[in-house]
């Protein structure tokens, strides 16, 4: 695949030399736009975040160096504690409920003899193309304690008294996890589905000739063969839900109290409502470190990264 200059003699020598030298620099030219954007808007701000997290700055005036004060302040900040705990619940909810559910749906949809596969796949995927703002606005109305459809159905079908989906501390977190389930299950399903379709049929045929039943085949063939896709999906879910913002912002505004506040929402408030830019930056850096460390652990548990590329 290595590139060589076009054979000389076909074109005039000078033009050919010029072209040969452009072949050498072409990849760098093609990559320049990305690296300019990367330096200006990703790497630069990341370094600036670390710098900012060691300083106190209220939006005006100069930065004053405060060492690790912002970090120690975070550890004693009640709102940050609540935000970290809630975000952990969202991530766990997504990993422990959405992930198995999407794998189950994919397995069901991939089964022999299932009809309207394309229709189901498209319909299940649909929620993810809607803005989280739209979703949160709809669920805000659907989960209203007094007038919402959910409580209406629950009380008329099961006779249950109205549940305070959005205004009691525990239910507020549950509702946000429900929104995550609704929005992400069909999206993650398509990755598992693609993974399932990639498993060679012969493996199952050989296994069933050897007398392995469906459950044995699932645990011995399907699960191990899905390892790379699962690792990929786990990382998407982790980095996505660790930064959850719109759902708590619109559904509950982090409430009641700070019972459903997320870390990104904490950063938003610290920076843009209280002008504590250093504290906000420190929370961002901490989030990054934790997410990065967990992703590394997941990558090594799933044994990926070694044979990558």
């Amino acid at each position: 695949m290595a590139l060589t200059a076009p054979p000389s003699g076909v074109t005039a020598p000078r033009a050919s030399r010029r072209r040969a030298s452009f072949v050498k620099i072409a990849p760098y030219v093609f990559l320049t736009p990305f690296y300019v954007v990367f330096l200006l808007f990703i790497a630069g701000p990341t370094l600036f975040a670390i710098y900012l997290s060691l300083h106190s700055w209220a939006g005006l005036g100069s930065f004053s160096f405060v060492g690790f004060d912002n970090y120690t302040n975070l550890f004693t900040n009640d709102d940050f504690h609540a935000a970290a705990g809630n975000t952990a619940w969202y991530v766990l909810g997504a990993l422990l409920i959405v992930l198995p559910l999407s794998l189950g749906l994919a397995a069901v949809l991939n089964a022999h003899g299932v009809r309207w596969k394309g229709f189901f796949r498209t319909s299940f995927f649909l929620p993810i193309v809607l803005s989280p703002v739209i979703v949160a606005l709809l669920f805000n109305i659907l989960f209203d304690t007094g007038t919402g459809l959910v409580n209406g159905v629950l009380s008329s079908v099961l006779g249950v008294p109205p549940v305070g989906w959005l205004d009691t501390p525990v239910w507020a977190k549950v509702t946000i996890v429900l929104v995550l389930i609704w929005r992400y299950t069909g999206y993650l399903m398509i990755f598992f589905l693609a993974g399932l379709q990639n498993i060679p049929r012969e493996l199952y045929e050989a296994a069933s000739l050897d007398g392995a039943g469906p459950f044995r085949q699932f645990s011995r063939i399907t699960i191990p063969m899905l390892k790379p896709v699962t690792a990929f999906v786990v990382v998407i879910v982790l980095t996505g839900t660790a930064q959850i913002f719109e759902e708590p912002f619109i559904l509950t505004n982090g409430g009641p109290g700070n019972a459903s506040l997320s870390i990104t929402q904490f950063i938003f408030r610290a920076a843009f409502q209280r002008q504590e830019f250093g504290l906000a930056a420190a929370a961002g850096v901490l989030l990054f470190i934790v997410v990065f460390a967990i992703s590394r652990v997941i990558a090594s548990v799933f044994g990926i990264g070694k044979e990558s590329q």
Binding site: L3, T46, F232, V285
Partner: protein
């Protein structure tokens, strides 16, 4: 319950028993699928039908799927009480422009990684991949300060900044361009085709479906985003759709018909694009994950 449950096998179980079991499993499978279909679509159908009802009928129990007294008042109110058209056009233009820009440059960078061998390639590739690990939450605050200092807050150009040339797109484009036959490129070179013309004339046409998928994904990302515009835009005459919808919630919290009509109209372009290009989009998104 799984893919493997219904495989033919030549075991000794009596035939009739087996096929009855299979039939039951298949029925169970479809029950499960229809259950999730209802879960996924009910909120949308409820909202769509509610947007055509007068406010008194929206919360009637049992809910009416087909409005008994259909009205378009919610939609006409939307255009007369808030600048919905402006929000809508701004979102469409910003998302379309950003997606076109990013798709083009992702493909160009993906081409470089897929079809050239050059010194520093490995380091550059790893730097590109490492940018995937940086969560937006860490750069939100410093990027806001940077953009404000550049004098770009409330400027349309600033709306695009976090969405320019994402590494994920480069990675996906590389996966697709790798499979473009190198002989095709060599043949064009011998015909005197320059490197950039090679990209435009040979690579782009071959990967067109993947480009479409990436464009749609980028469009949806920008069109749907809320956090960045919420930070960078303070001037309400420059609101995008998501900011506008959120302002509806705070200003007209009890006018549910208005909110429902707004969300349905906002969802319309994404639904149209998705339904037209669903196959490319779903296959394009998963190709990177499975091949990688």
């Amino acid at each position: 319950m799984t893919a493997v449950s219904y495989r033919e096998d030549a075991r000794v179980t009596p035939h009739r028993n087996k096929s009855r079991g299979r039939k039951l499993a298949l029925i169970g499978t479809h029950v499960g699928l229809f259950f999730w279909l209802i879960v996924a679509l009910t909120p949308l159908i409820w909202a769509l039908s509610g947007s055509f009802k007068p406010i008194e009928d929206i919360f009637v129990s049992p809910p009416q799927i087909i409005p008994e007294r259909p009205t378009v008042a919610n939609y006409t109110d939307l255009f007369s009480t808030v600048p919905f058209f402006g929000w809508f056009m701004r979102s469409i233009l910003i998302a379309g422009g950003t997606a076109a820009f990013s798709t083009f440059f992702c493909a160009l960078a993906g081409f470089a990684f897929a079809k050239y061998r050059f010194p520093g390639e490995k380091i550059l590739f790893n730097i590109m991949l490492s940018s995937l690990m940086i969560p937006f939450a860490i750069i939100l605050v410093p990027l806001f300060i940077e953009v404000t200092r550049m004098g770009l807050s409330n400027q349309y150009i600033a709306y695009s900044i976090p969405f320019l040339i994402p590494a994920f797109g480069i990675f996906m484009m590389r996966q697709f361009i790798v499979s473009v036959p190198t002989e095709l490129l060599e043949a064009a070179r011998i015909d005197g085709c320059g490197e950039f013309r090679l990209f435009l004339g040979v690579v782009i046409p071959v990967i067109r479906p993947a480009l479409g998928a990436l464009f749609v994904w980028f469009f949806l990302t920008v069109y749907n985003d809320f956090l960045w515009p919420a930070v960078i835009v303070s001037d309400s005459s420059r609101y995008t759709l998501t900011l506008g919808l959120n302002s509806l919630r705070t200003a007209y919290s009890t006018e549910y018909g208005l909110v429902l009509a707004g969300t349905m109209l906002a969802a319309l372009p994404t639904l149209i694009i998705f339904i037209l290009l669903r196959k490319q989009l779903i296959e394009g998104l998963t190709a990177g994950a499975v091949k990688a």
